[in-house]
Subunit: 204 residues, 2 copies
DNA sequence: CAACTTTTTTAAACAACTTTTCAAATTTTT
DNA sequence: AAAAATTTGAAAAGTTGTTTAAAAAAGTTG
């Protein structure tokens, strides 16, 4: 039986993980068959269970990784007391655009599981670090001082929406040739500057 | 075998459809069992196949409906030559907020299947009516006239993002008590006026 | 290096579950 | 009353996650 995790094996275990990342991310938990992962990894079916005990355990690993990537860096930015609101948001936007350009299927994957409510996200993300971050305090203070006319949540929803939505819509946009393959990247790079600009309008 | 579609039966067939809408929308295609639908509809398992031939066919019907609801009304608005850009967008925003307040699970459901790429969406949505609509022509003209500094797609992504994102994020927001149950509706109603306002900033 | 132990890999099969089919029973329509 | 449509329970056919037992490979020890 599988004993330790960290022998000297990087090969098979990592192949499975890599495959799992791809398939789970693309199709979600329910639609993914263990056989799909084995095929993608080009290994024997049984090895998935041998190394990860179960489909669910493997999924948890992949999900934990994803949440980590998504939350950890952002939490740091949000809690940096040196940065003002626009600085924080600009940094966060750039981090996410970078991340999502590399992992375009990420948003669906997470949104999917967030709503599925199996709640891996809630379990793994210490969301208090986000929702009770320094940034949020800054926004609430601004509101209290009468310098922000709307609920801070509006601002956050807009930022997230403006960053993430394009990635969710991407397949649609490209399928309809409204945006060509490489043009999408260009557009997202434009947005690095545009979103902070638009946001200034919302805050001011 | 199931022959025609439109006899005089409204009862069983409609019960199944209603159940399918609920379950498919909430859990997606793969996670939904025909048994779930039968249970939700409170009818015998076999009747699902009797009326809709297969799980997949049933899904297609539900998906087609959803896309219809999502696209048809909007296409009409987008192509109304009497309306200027802000009017069109305001109308569209209100339509979507109404629709999504009634069907909160819609966005995930669609986004899910858009990316799944089984492509029901592309098949059923005559997207040209959206992406080549009068609204788009208006935006491109504005751009050509130098009165809009960014690619029109940016504008569209923002509108969609600002409307849809909150619904995707809702479970997260409520789970973290950042937004209480009824407060969400209030916030979305605020957005009916706010989004057009923010948009004016982007267009001007 | 040869005998052994342990780890890894493989093919097969199990068991549980799911979709679909079927034939008979029931209800509705003509 | 006959015909057609609907409903039902059971079972067939197919998937899917997991287990098993044996083979192969790698590692260890005297």
């Amino acid at each position: 039986m599988a004993t330790g995790k960290k022998e000297q094996d990087a090969s098979t275990e990592e192949k499975i993980l890599a495959a799992a990342r791809i398939v789970f991310t693309r199709k979600g938990f329910a639609a993914t068959k263990v056989r799909d992962i084995a095929a993608e990894a080009d290994i024997n079916l049984s090895l998935v269970n041998y190394y990860f005990r179960s489909k669910e355990k493997l999924f948890e690993v992949v999900m934990a990784e994803a949440v980590q990537k998504l939350v950890f860096e952002i939490a740091t930015i949000f809690n940096d007391e040196q940065l003002d609101i626009p600085e924080k948001i600009t940094k966060a936007i750039n981090y996410y655009i970078d991340l999502l350009l590399e992992n375009p299927d990420f948003p669906l994957f997470l949104v999917n599981e967030i709503i599925a409510g199996d709640d891996m996200f809630t379990r793994y993300a210490q969301q208090n670090t986000l929702f009770k971050s320094h940034l949020f305090r800054q926004l609430y203070e601004l509101k209290a001082a009468g310098k922000l006319s709307v609920h801070p949540v509006h601002i956050m929803m807009n930022v997230i929406g403006m960053v993430v939505m394009p990635f969710l819509a991407r397949p649609l946009l490209e399928r309809n040739e409204l945006v060509k393959d490489n043009e999408f990247v260009t557009l997202m790079n434009e947005r690095r500057k545009l979103i902070p600009l638009w946001l200034k309008g919302m805050l001011g």
